[in-house]
């Protein structure tokens, strides 16, 4: 079955801290009499509308805290939207949660594996929750353990598992009931290059069977190499959407030269803008200037000369090749890793 994903102006405002464990606090924190109750308001999503085609690999790209995981949380029935709607196939996610859960597989950002079980039991019980027959779930578990290279640890409890092994097992578990839509929240975070490669292979394989995949990442290369289309999100909003190629083409020039001068007199920016191949210059504060151009290193001698002529000196140059990262920089004025 080919199933798409659609959202319409999704908004999520957290009024209590997300119930994530690990916060160390006293059970009864003392509060001075009359002191106002501490308030907590975080707008995690601010009107996200997406339309993911059946059979597509769709990427949500953005820095930490952009709203990627909240989007996945809403689409996987785990987070209630403050307003807006979401559909998996024909099912409204919030209203038809049971039907939706049948269609989706979820790989969370942090492995949430059942530590009371062995690796193989994690898979077979998961299959049982989804109504697979005993024969089916054992056969499928064997097959997945083999594909994810976990066969030799199949009967071990999870305590000794490395991060990479847990991540592989999480993905195997999500595939166990053969869902039509697979959600992967930061699937490659913390994986070594070899496992990352295995993961890409698995994702492409699964997609080749007509499955829809939505993955979140802050890794540009991953989005670029895997996704058919990418939505760039920041502060709970989609700021750009398209195929990686389209997106890269949309950056003026393609190259970005991040320059650092001793000072940036207005004459300097004018001179730079007048140079051949330069499409735009943007001050980035504190003597910094971003130059968007259709070429990279060949501009440097001209820039040095222009700085000289404007009575300042260049201190640092960083050239970024055309990439989704530049696109993010172009739209937000920040680099993804900042």
């Amino acid at each position: 079955m080919r199933v798409g994903i659609r959202t319409d102006s999704l908004r999520k405002v957290f009024t209590t801290p997300p119930p994530v464990g690990g916060q160390v606090g006293r059970p009864f924190a003392p509060r001075r009499k009359g002191a106002p109750k501490p308030t907590y308001t975080v707008v995690a999503l601010d009107g996200v509308s997406l339309d993911v085609e059946p059979g597509e690999i769709f990427g949500l790209l953005g820095p930490n805290g952009a709203g990627k995981s909240t989007t996945v949380g809403i689409l996987t029935t785990r987070v209630r939207p403050t307003s807006g709607q979401a559909w998996i196939g024909d099912f409204n996610v919030w209203e038809r949660r049971v039907e939706v859960k049948r269609l989706i597989g979820v790989v969370p950002q942090r492995p949430n594996l059942d530590f009371a079980l062995t690796a193989r039991e994690v898979l077979t019980f998961h299959g049982a929750y989804f109504g697979l027959s005993a024969a089916d779930r054992h056969a499928r578990a064997d097959q997945l353990l083999d594909r994810f290279k976990l066969t030799d640890r199949a009967n071990h409890m999870l305590f000794g598992f490395s991060g990479g092994m847990m991540q592989r097992l999480s993905i195997a578990r999500a595939m166990m009931h053969d869902p039509s839509v697979l959600f992967l929240d930061e699937p490659s975070a913390g994986l070594d290059p070899q496992t990352r490669l295995l993961l890409s292979e698995m994702i492409l394989d699964y997609n080749a069977r007509g499955k829809t995949i939505l993955l979140t990442t802050h890794n540009m290369e991953e989005a670029d190499s895997l996704c058919h289309r990418v939505a760039i999100v920041d502060h709970g909003k989609v700021i750009a959407l398209g195929t990686p190629k389209e997106l890269k083409r949309s950056i003026p020039g393609g190259y970005v030269l991040r320059l650092h001068f001793a000072a940036t007199p207005p004459a300097l920016a004018d001179a730079l803008r007048a140079m051949p191949g330069v499409t735009e210059t943007r001050p980035a504060g504190d003597g910094r200037l971003d130059v968007y151009a259709d070429r990279g290193g060949t501009l440097i001698p001209g820039i040095v000369a222009a700085a000289d002529a404007a009575g300042t000196a260049i201190q640092d140059v960083h050239i970024l090749e055309p990439s989704l990262e530049n696109l993010f920089l172009h739209h937000t004025g920040r680099s993804l890793r900042e």
Partner: protein
């Protein structure tokens, strides 16, 4: 509700409980058994306690063990699985309304409470030696009581497990469970509080009182005990309240 999913989750809990059976039993039964041995054997044999105390003690210990086992069996995994690792998510994502997962936890806890209650009778008998006079005349009443007490223990586990965090487990034990045990009419009948009129009323807010008194009425009716009607009413009331409260807390924890 999806029966296949529900049963699969029960099977999972049974599997895990079997694997941890020794630890679970030791955790909840060792202490009551030592109490039984000291007070039911040493104190009675040496003459400091009358021999009838053995029979009086047994239903209280049974109530105590059942409540501890059921509460522990439901609360501890819930506390752990809702924490940092969010282990419970794989079951929240199973194709079933999530409230049924809470119900499943309660059913699993009930089964464990009943098993521990059934182990207590022969074990306490052995520990106390001869002279335990329990009656099998009120079998239907006994079964009803055992079921209501098991439900009480598991729903208390649900309510506590979804209300406290990992850092507060010690506090939960010393502030909730320990007072419950000591003021739960486990070691003495409710009638023994005659000389403590305020306390006699206050302890009625403790669900364990109804559990102990109910089992006492079913197993050793020769001792004073609360009327069956009061016990059934009390247990049903606490069961309903704890389940409703537990489900609300569960929903709050499970959804953001």
């Amino acid at each position: 509700m999806n029966l296949k999913t529900f049963l699969a989750m029960l099977a999972r809990d049974a599997h895990v409980a079997r694997r941890n059976a020794f630890v679970l039993l030791t955790q909840t039964m060792l202490q009551p058994m030592m109490f039984v041995f000291v007070f039911g054997r040493i104190m009675t044999t040496s003459g400091y306690m009358p021999p009838q105390y053995k029979s009086l003690l047994l239903p209280g210990i049974m109530a105590l063990s059942m409540v501890m086992t059921g509460t522990w069996a439901v609360a501890m995994p819930l506390v752990a699985e809702f924490q940092f690792t969010k282990e419970i998510e794989d079951r929240l994502l199973a194709p079933m309304e999530m409230e049924w997962l809470a119900v499943e936890k309660v059913v699993a806890g009930m089964v464990q409470a009943l098993i521990s209650g059934l182990i207590v009778i022969p074990a306490a008998w052995l520990a106390m030696g001869s002279g335990v006079a329990i009656s099998a005349d009120h079998l239907a009443l006994f079964v009803t009581m055992a079921l209501l007490v098991a439900l009480l223990s598991a729903s208390l586990g649900l309510a506590l497990g979804c209300s406290v965090g990992q850092q507060q487990i010690g506090l939960m034990f010393s502030m909730v469970l320990a007072p419950m045990i000591f003021f739960g009419c486990t070691y003495y009948p409710w009638a023994a509080l005659e000389k403590f009129p305020i306390m006699k009323r206050l302890v009625l807010a403790n669900p364990l009182v109804y559990a102990s008194e109910g089992l006492r009425g079913a197993l050793v009716p020769q001792f004073p005990h609360l009327s069956t009607l009061a016990v059934v009413g009390g247990l049903l009331g606490f069961d309903a309240f704890l389940i409703a409260f537990g489900l609300r807390q569960f929903r709050r924890k499970a959804l953001t």
